[in-house]
Symmetry: C2
Subunit: 203 residues, 2 copies
Amino acid sequence: MYDISMLIKPDIQVYKNNDSKRPEYKNMSNFDSGVSYETRVSLDIHTGTHIDRPLHMIDGGKTINSLDISRLICKAKVFDLTKIKNRYIGLSDIDSLDIEAGDFVIFKTINSDNENFDFEFVYLNKEAAKFLVDKKINGVGIDALGIERAQSDHLTHIQLLEADIIILEGCRLKDVPEGEYELIALPIKLDQTEGAWVRAVLR
Amino acid sequence: MYDISMLIKPDIQVYKNNDSKRPEYKNMSNFDSGVSYETRVSLDIHTGTHIDRPLHMIDGGKTINSLDISRLICKAKVFDLTKIKNRYIGLSDIDSLDIEAGDFVIFKTINSDNENFDFEFVYLNKEAAKFLVDKKINGVGIDALGIERAQSDHLTHIQLLEADIIILEGCRLKDVPEGEYELIALPIKLDQTEGAWVRAVLR
């Protein structure tokens, strides 16, 4: 079994190194002050391994509440795209891959080699996203905190989310060979949020 | 598949109705202020469905980091104890049940009928906990935010945690019949904490 989740350390990489996105751990009780050790954690939805729901990029979009979580215990295909030429996944990088309706596809890139935030992270471009929408996939995962950057129309997110395709961000895939797996990535049962944290494993 | 997790609403029940334990949702970006909707959540480890690790009650105890999470994709046995006489699960309530080494046992009680915090919630007493330790179980789940109350020596927690038995708290079991299931309850990959939130399902 491969644990493909990020460890949510206080100094974990956060999007664009924005300090306001850093996790905060606060000790609420310990053995000096009481009889138990208790922690409170303040955490952005988009820090660590998480899924996005339509509300993240679509005004009035669906939240985590309406997600059928059985979609996150599913077959998944990991594709090794560490050798692609550009700093994005384009249509020509994926149009000959074995991608079928209902698949959860996970793209392994050079992002998995880097634990620091990379302003030039490999993303999925909008033409490739359109291809995945047309394929009617279940979900798509990537090893960056975002599936998209550098597209001012945000059409990678918007096309995928309009089609209710699950976006899984922040995967760690360095040690995971290309192949077929079972993905388990159940989201924490938050309320009315635009996504949620997951512990994601492949087996 | 049964989702046995609590919905983490702002007004979710919290231990002893302590306001400092309430979850807080903070909107960080929305479609008035920007191009995306983003939320930050402040949440106690022990609010909502979660597991306890030894550090919760044992000074210097193990944290979430050292947990083998494959232990939380496992067979589980749900026992219906809604008819027990007392406000605790005692040895005589469980000593004739089919409990074997390696089992993840989950106790369904009248706690599952109540979404408000009950100061008299049904707990597992220390004699029953000792029985489970001797049985060498993998884990134990209950439908209260705590597995213990009203025992000043905290020996239910301490005995279970010293034996590295996983404690799963905050299960919702009202609709779950007694029987054998697969439990999936992978914890969020927090760092050095005394437990972690899970999305728990039985199937």
